[in-house]
């Protein structure tokens, strides 16, 4: 479990992300989130699980700075070397969200281009990012020529190309078939082991959350609040044997049980 830290700057306390009393109310007075308190350690893999509409995507957008909280504070640690905000954060959306009019290479290059990174340095990093996701030979392909899983890998490469401290993932594999999803789960875990980035992974799949994360945060809906936190302690590195272990089934049961109240009172649609 996460240790409670004193109220000092997130950066100094070994925290990567810190939300304090965060709420988000949309126009029309719909309260979507909070109040929410969440601390994420540097290098932690955190899963946010909850029913759709529980504000987990909103929480992610707040952390990314794509939306501002109605009340409360959002703090994220940043690279010292990058003055521009947002650089320390990579975002992977539910859809691959690629630019269809240009090649895989140009898509991955986008964050560097927007930051006006010199071409030589950019080329090295793009190649590296594409190799990490196993798409080096598809650099000149167009997104529509790729499968759903490959598009998602491009999206991941684009998020990694700036070498962010924090990787935010919003149900990234939800639209993929199960085999592809399992493979991408394993690849993501391998990436995380190598790069030790802070990952906040939003999903509605209990199984995925347990398989991937060190800590599962279960959220309830309307407004989104934290219902439970479950630490996943297991032997690393995880692999297929963890997916089939009794401990895994146990954790899944725990998360499901914590999630059940969030769904109570809803029709079984």
């Amino acid at each position: 479990m996460v240790q409670v830290l004193s109220d000092i700057d997130a950066d100094l306390a070994g925290l990567s992300v810190s939300l304090r009393g965060v709420t988000k109310t949309f126009e029309g007075g719909i309260s979507a989130l909070g109040p929410l308190d969440l601390k994420v350690r540097k290098g932690e893999f955190l899963a946010l699980v909850g029913p759709s509409g529980c504000g987990k995507s909103t929480a992610l957008r707040l952390i990314a700075g794509l939306a501002t909280p109605t009340t409360g504070t959002v703090q994220t640690s940043r690279h010292d070397r990058d003055a521009r905000p947002g650089h320390a954060i990579g975002f992977v959306f539910q859809e691959p969200t690629l630019m269809p009019w240009t090649s895989v290479w140009e898509n991955v290059r986008l964050p560097l281009r927007l930051a006006r990174t010199p071409a030589a340095a950019a080329d090295v990093r793009i190649r590296e990012a594409l190799e990490r996701v196993g798409l080096a030979e598809f650099a000149q392909s167009y997104p529509r020529e790729l499968s759903g899983g490959m598009k998602m890998r491009v999206s991941l490469a684009r998020a990694l190309v700036t070498d962010p401290d924090i990787l935010l993932m919003d149900e990234p594999f939800a639209a993929l078939d199960e085999i592809t999803r399992f493979r991408l789960n394993n690849d993501l875990l391998a990436l995380w082991r190598n790069l030790r980035k802070t990952v906040i992974f939003v999903t509605h799949s209990v199984f995925e959350s347990v398989y991937l994360s060190q800590r599962v945060v279960v959220m309830t809906s309307r407004p989104g609040r934290i219902a439970a936190e479950i630490g996943i302690a297991t032997v690393e590195p995880r692999g297929e044997e963890f997916r089939t272990s009794a401990a895994y089934a146990d954790y899944c049961r725990k998360v499901s049980a914590a999630l059940a109240p969030a769904y109570s009172g809803r029709s079984a649609l």
Partner: protein, 273 residues
């Protein structure tokens, strides 16, 4: 499916494609034959209705005059089209950057569009030099589809992509150049395709209005002039040229659109992929 079965399906596809070319050509040939026969059998005079053979002969014999007129009309159309493209895209970009500007000016763009150009043309001819007035007419008709399509395109940017640009701190210019314009490209090209045909219409309308005022040398003016002189075969020949010009303009713009979009946009992709 067996290889033979696949081949049959492919053959069926080819045959269908062939039919789509052969059938309209057949209809055209049939129509021309009937037309020629009606004229000959009823002994209709050329100043009432010339047969297609005579029209074709006139097209060749009057080629010098008609060719010059065609060039004049095409030049007007091109100028109007360029003005419409630049004006439409430019105005849409301005509207996109400033809501105030959009609210102030958009109603007038609509008014300009809904007022029939044939009614505006005589007025323009009073206040503007003739050639300018004709180009302005072509511009008025052509620019609105470009404006509204470009506006639609600029507003159709994928929200997540826009979020991504925001996340990476894209400047306004970067967002415009790397995100909004490419996203809007299919829409802009669609608008240009409409504007091409409309510019020709605008040019013709203005030429006819100018022609009745006693000046001009474009194809539409030739049609009006030939009408007064009861030179009906030449009217038909000029009309044929105008029609061909319209087809070529549309074809060219469709080709450009296809070439620009073929690698990524649904509209330009083959059905099988």
């Amino acid at each position: 499916m067996s290889a033979q079965g696949k081949k049959q399906v492919a053959d069926g596809g080819n045959a269908l494609r062939l039919l789509r070319i052969v059938l309209p050509v057949l209809v055209l040939a049939l129509g021309l034959i009937v037309w020629e026969l009606v004229v000959r059998l009823n002994d209709i005079q050329p100043y009432v209705l010339p047969g297609p053979v005579l029209v074709f002969k006139t097209l060749i014999s009057d080629w010098d005059v008609l060719w010059q007129s065609l060039l004049t009309t095409l030049l007007t159309t091109l100028e109007g089209f360029i003005a419409a493209s630049v004006g439409g895209i430019g105005l849409a970009l301005l509207f996109n950057q400033s809501k105030l500007l959009e609210y102030s000016l958009f109603p007038y763009a609509v008014i300009l569009q809904v007022t029939p150009v044939i009614a505006i043309a005589p007025l323009l001819l009073i206040y503007l030099p003739q050639q300018t007035a004709v180009v302005v007419c072509a511009w008025i008709v052509g620019f609105f589809p470009v404006l509204s399509n470009t506006t639609l395109g600029l507003n159709s940017v994928d929200r997540n992509l826009a979020g991504l640009f925001q996340l990476y701190g894209a400047s306004r210019l970067q967002a415009l150049r790397l995100l909004k314009l490419p996203s809007a490209l299919p829409y802009i090209l669609g608008g240009l395709r409409i504007a091409g045909g409309l510019s020709l219409i605008g040019a013709v309308v203005a030429e006819i209005a100018a022609g009745t005022a006693g000046a001009g040398s474009g194809l539409a003016y030739r049609i009006a002039e030939s009408g007064y002189r009861l030179n009906i075969p030449r009217m038909f020949a000029a009309l044929l040229l105008l029609s061909l010009a319209g087809i070529v303009i549309y074809g060219l713009l469709a080709l450009i659109s296809h070439l620009a979009l073929r690698r990524w946009h649904e509209s330009a992709l083959g059905k099988e992929s």
